[in-house]
Amino acid sequence: MRTEWINHAALTRPQEGGMSRRSFMKAGAIAGGGLVLGFFVPGANKFARAADAAKPLAAPNAFLRIAPDNTISVMVNRLEFGQGVNTALPMLIAEDLDADWSQMRGELAPAGDSFKDPVFGMQMTGGSGSVAHSFVQYREIGARARLMLIGAAAEQWKLKPEQLTTAKGYVIGPTGQRASYGSLADAAMKQPVPATVVLKDAKDFRIIGKPTPRIDARAKSSGKQQFGMDFKLPDTKVAVVARPPVFGARVAKFDAGKARAIKGVIEVLEVPTDRGGRGVVVIADGYWQAKQGREALAIEWDTSAVEKVSSAKQMADYKALAKTAGTSAKKADISQLAGAAKKISAVYEFPYLAHAPMEPLNCTVDLKADSCTLYVGSQFQTVDQGAAAATAGLKPEQVTLNTLMAGGGFGRRAVPSSDYVIEAVNVAKAYRAAGKSGPVKVIWSREDDIKGGYYRPAYVHRADIGLDAKGKILAWDHAIVGQSIITGTPFEPFMVKDGVDATTIEGMGEPYDVPLNLSVHNAKANVPVLWWRSVGSTHTAFVMETLIDEAAHAARMDPVAYRKQLMGDKHKRHLAALDLAVEKSGYGKRKLPKGRAYGVALHESFSSVVAYVVEASVTKGVPKLHKVTAGIHCNQAVNPMTIEAQVQGAILMALGTTLPGAAITLKDGVVEQQNFSDYTVARMPDMPQVAVHIVPSSDAPTGMGEPGLPPLAPAFANALFTLTGKRLRKLPFDLAAA
């Protein structure tokens, strides 16, 4: 998630790294000893608690611990859910600490003030910002610890710090003295924290920029990695919730008799659910008993007070709205549209999309009279901690949120309304109110996940483009219809500007010099919506890059040459990414076998630029994507091995949105899909061969968790146009109907 404004802030302030408001601190005496560095956050005196906690690796505010056993643990202030931050942030510290990679470990940080994103001002994982926003912050921690270790060795050896160097986890003296960081850690703790440090020059990097295997690869290949779903305190009970069939509906009456009769079922209780709704929770010894209990419930729902959306009508309404001008987002002169020699008129349709991470949502709550402890794979620790406190009737400091590793998320675990966390706390409250005690884990089934809302919104775009006889774009009138993701959330003051939700329009027009007159209708509907990997660019990139391709054909120009002409020389990173993809793919040089065609698309999101040249074919009406050559510009690549994985993954996820059945639809307010049987995601045979090429750069890094997604579907569609002459304007693709 991002807005253009937040993103610009990120671009203009990367060197601050949040240091200006914070001081580096040594943590208090920590059990186990060693050097522990963290931040002091003015006004949040948690260090007293850190000293008392006696949990060395979970000490609040600690970022780095060098233990006497020579392991170096890095507190990762993000959710690790596949994007590799649990490896990337230790890489950053290891670089300027001059540690050996083999001694590095990653730990996910609990909710805490010092773990807030320096740019966003809250603890969260999103906006492809984990590495970009931490690049300076984490390296400075490593650099400070290195100087303290040198200081300790200098004292021991009675030398001056300037005489000492470091390499791979050792301080080295002028006559060959060597001391490991672990052996110096206790002494280093007594050194003052340096006020200023100089970071390494990019030419001296040993770790940053080197393909580095994930720290967690072995644990994740052997079933040993613990996820939120696997977490269990003694005597934890499992809860499943029967949620209303229409969002926000309520329980008229229910009969729990048959559910209570199932062995292992402990409680059946009515509980508040999201959007003012009411549901029924079944709490049991295990998931299977709870699920059996839920199936045995007889519930009569009252849906009278809530809007019941039907997708067919909604799309028709959206299309009608799109014909009219909405709230202006970008203004341009469109007077030449009517008399233009050539015209392109297009209407695009995008469905709701579920995130469907492989690990279904879950949240363990240990609620007591004066405390609430959460164990959850949250992308939004600060927001979820506050929401849990408000729901439990406690102060935020009485709520501990422990971040557990998550099996994917793609945005679904970053919910401004904290839907699943609040629900879990409400379940724990009801359980306590029923006279029970002990932790409760709410588990969502896959059906709960698919039907549970918080979708990428459905959108309609309408474009009317006027071109001159040579194909130059004279006027471009454009309207977008869709629900606002941001309105009504705490992000509204920053991300809704002049009545326009930034996530509805981000990516429109860019990077081309075109006279785009853009307006927006932010429609309302009783369907919860949310950011979904790459947010607004999931739809704007498709529209932009297929229309530019169409304009290139109208101009009878090569689509790559046409794009370059429209960009001019102002967009050097775009040009570099595009040129790299074109060169490596053989586009324009290598003739493809009969029945195959190239397709090209280019898009910037989260300040990174991705260009794709794809190869596709159509067999018996079925499109197939064979090959993708990627040109990436993300400035300094921190871990090229992860970037390659993120690009492969984003391609696969985007490809999934083109496949038949990749849509969430509603009828009379009820979501029509249930599971992977009727909500399509991409599988092994769909995977194209992907080659990732990164433009070399040592500028401050930009994120790569999301930017690989947007240009894939349009590149594929452009190739399918070359093969079939059909312009696909609806997702998922339907060649027969196009």
């Binding site: 596949g82 295997p213 779903m229 295990g286 992977f676 092994m684």
Partner: protein
């Protein structure tokens, strides 16, 4: 009480016979390496071996497994083929979020037990029931071929 043979050991499970193997493993035996993804044999995250063949433990009741050999991800480190697959997974840096990978490793191991040099089509056939939302398929394909080589 149902007696299950899990990873070579007879184990008593105090659960209703209709309980899926998945939940007996996870909730009764605290063996959480086998994952819950869909509950309907649609995603493969829960894949285990029953008498050496890959099955979906989320829909297979324990009553159907009594007296037969259940093998889970926890036993793969000491299994020649399973270990080769895991090592290849690490060499190719396969996992992203990692949640589906227990099931992927179990399906790949079952494949390599019966097919020592799988083609792309063989891999598609054996692995298409295992969903990975992170998109690790390209590395999975490479890792399976690499594991096959190390076992040859």
């Amino acid at each position: 009480m149902v007696t299950l043979n899990i990873n070579g050991r007879d184990t008593q499970v105090d659960a209703d016979p209709s309980t899926p193997i998945l939940w007996a493993l996870r909730d009764n035996l605290n063996m959480t390496g086998t994952k819950f993804g869909c509950g309907a044999a649609l995603c493969g995250a829960c894949t285990v071996h029953l008498n050496g063949a890959a099955i979906r433990s989320c829909i297979t009741p324990i009553s159907a497994a009594a007296g037969q050999k259940i093998t889970t991800i926890e036993a793969m480190e000491t299994d020649k083929v399973g270990k080769a697959v895991q090592d290849a997974w690490v060499r190719h840096d396969v996992p992203q979020c990692g949640y589906c990978q227990s099931g992927q490793v179990m399906s790949a191991t079952a494949l390599l037990r019966t097919n020592k040099a799988p083609s792309d089509a063989d891999i598609d056939g054996a692995m298409s029931g295992n969903i990975c939302r992170c998109g690790t398929y390209q590395r999975i394909r490479a890792a399976i071929k690499d594991a096959a080589k190390t076992l040859a």
